[in-house]
């Protein structure tokens, strides 16, 4: 079994009639993903790449038992699309768009948390469970089926990591981009818990970045994990984020968000730290006997 996206996933594509939505739908289908329908309000009744298009998510849920959705709607329309999917009972939402207004993200996140929905993104390449399917824009040929779980804040670095694992003969169970925005829908620690419980996954690679505190929070759970965790954190040489008035200082704990702080927290929690992505393969081989 993979996590989140598995053989029970019946996905829809919101924004299927758009240029990118249509192209990506084709690639997801070619990869073997079980897509059951597309949604575009006002385009109900059309057919795109053999999939029926409906005006709303409810109809796809009623007729096809859809339980996951990948979003290709423009950033400013994303909020309503996500809130509808949550209301319709969708349990995994992959929000691809970038440039989504922050207030919209906060609303989606709040709604998803209240209903226990997995919201990946916004600004994520998506999720891929090699051999099963992909909901997102990652090139499918960069991933191979296997036992490594990847959680990445960076889309492009997750591709790099997968490539390195492939060369080392280490395939992936599921690769998840949590999203590159300052605020994203799902917490890294929650995804780690899924990987820990997944029989297929033998080790987890975390690809982190400067900023935020998701890696520090994840460290709290890594302490308790049976499976090995390898972490790579990018951004040592990046300029630190600009301050948000006094308010930024008031709400943040000291030292949080720096690469050093993250590495320290992960190291102390027992994760192995990779200095560069290609080090991950060696570290993994060391700890998987």
């Amino acid at each position: 079994m993979s996590i989140l996206l598995d053989r029970n996933t019946r996905a829809i594509v919101q924004g299927i009639t758009g240029r990118i939505g249509s192209v990506q739908t084709n690639w997801m289908l070619e990869y073997g993903t079980r897509l059951v329908a597309g949604i575009t309000p006002g385009r109900g009744g059309e057919i795109v790449h053999g999939l029926p298009v409906y005006d709303d998510v409810y109809e796809a849920v009623e007729k096809h038992g859809a339980n996951a959705s990948v979003m290709f709607v423009p950033g400013v329309f994303l909020r309503n699309a996500v809130l509808e999917a949550i209301d319709a009972g969708i349990k995994l939402i992959v929000a691809i768009p970038e440039h989504v207004p922050l207030h919209d993200v906060l609303q989606m996140k709040s709604a998803a948390e209240k209903k226990g929905v997995w919201l990946l993104g916004p600004n994520t390449p998506g999720i891929i469970s090699p051999g099963i399917g992909k909901l997102g824009i990652m090139p499918g040929n960069m991933f191979t089926e296997g036992k490594m779980g990847i959680i990445s804040r960076s889309g492009t670095l997750s591709y790099e990591l997968a490539g390195i694992l492939n060369e080392a003969g280490l395939g992936q169970s599921t690769v998840i981009g949590v999203g590159g925005d300052p605020v994203v829908g799902s917490r890294m620690i929650k995804i780690l818990q899924e990987f820990e419980a997944d029989p297929q996954t033998e080790a987890v690679i975390i690809v982190g970045e400067i900023g935020g505190s998701s890696e520090e929070e994840a460290a709290d759970f890594i302490k308790e994990m049976a499976k090995p965790v390898i972490a790579y954190i990018a951004g040592r040489t990046a300029p630190s984020g600009r301050r948000m008035g006094h308010a930024g200082a008031i709400i943040s704990r000291r030292g949080q968000g720096t690469v050093q702080g993250k590495i320290k927290a992960l190291d102390m929690a027992g994760a192995l730290i990779a200095k560069k992505p290609s080090d991950v393969a060696g570290l993994l081989k060391g700890c998987l006997k």
Partner: protein, 389 residues
Amino acid sequence: MKLLEYQGKKLFAANGIPIPQGKVVTNALEAVEAAEQLGGDIVLKVQVPAEGRGKAGGIKFVDNSFHVHSEAGRLFKMNMEEFSIEKLLVEERLDIVEEIYMGLVVDINTGEIIFLFSPEGGVNIEQIVAGRPEKVYRLPVDPLSLPPVYQLRRFIRRGGFHGKVLEGLTGIAEKLLHLFFAYDLLMAEINPLVILPDNQIVALDAKVEVDDNALSRQKFEKKFWEERDQLEKEARGIGVTYIKLDGSIGVVGSGAGLAMATMDMLEDRGFPPANFLETGGGITEELMYNTLRLVCKNGNVTGVVINIYGGVNPIEKGAKGIVRFIRERGTPPIVVKALGNKQEECWETLREGGITVINSVKTEDAVESLLELIDARKVQAKTSGKGMM
């Protein structure tokens, strides 16, 4: 997009939050005129998007109208952080009974909006936060259901206020909250918010930041003050994110993580990056051409690593931009690592254009390759130099 103080105050006033009387001026003579119109004691405040203007000497209290011209002149000659002073705000000076802190900000870690309030505001707010954190009250705000006015009143009452002052503060809190949501703000801060002897309440400062991603649905005039650098402004025009750094190797990544990883590796090899640059998902031939032009405007750049993936990005089109740039300029050395959809087409274009292509999955291979190329050129340059002598 951060608003300058006077822009933030304009927004406040338009939404019912009282501000001092004042005028924005662009030279010392205008400052004198404005001071005369206002009468009485005045304050001169430089208008730049820097923090800590007061401590840096950018705020001057002028008691004698005789000194306005000279003080304003001195301020216009200042530089604050990288910013030159183009505008001053000339304001009336108010009798202040109490200074209060009020702010709204997003906690990016939790995704919560936090309303912050402290009955002791002013320049020393950070010491108060550090020393007596119990004096700073925090009210988490659910973005799906805003607190009604009576909950705000109750919250502010914790600061020990009652009667008319409590009502005034509650009204301002309500308006600040309205502003925050109506204008897609990332931050709205009033420090200090002051109480006058007649219990009137006035916002003496305004720190307002608007979400760039929401500008399409907001009516703000799009003025970006944050870029500390001409190149950063140009980058916004091209549609990429660029931050200038001190090193010598240009970096172009199709994602922020990939760009940062590349920078980190360059640093480790003793060749610090000259910039951070992320294209995002909008690569075209033109964008890639303009991106390279931008990166190479930095005179320190001795080579460029381009590290891109084709997911939604058409890397085969980006390749054409790279080739065009090098065909026109010939320099500097460039190494491209490009993987993903249509990678073969991309490589072919680049190779035909004489560009070094790395088809390894490892970024360090691209870094090494570029450093070798730079080295080789140096040797070549020395050799050819010798030959010419």
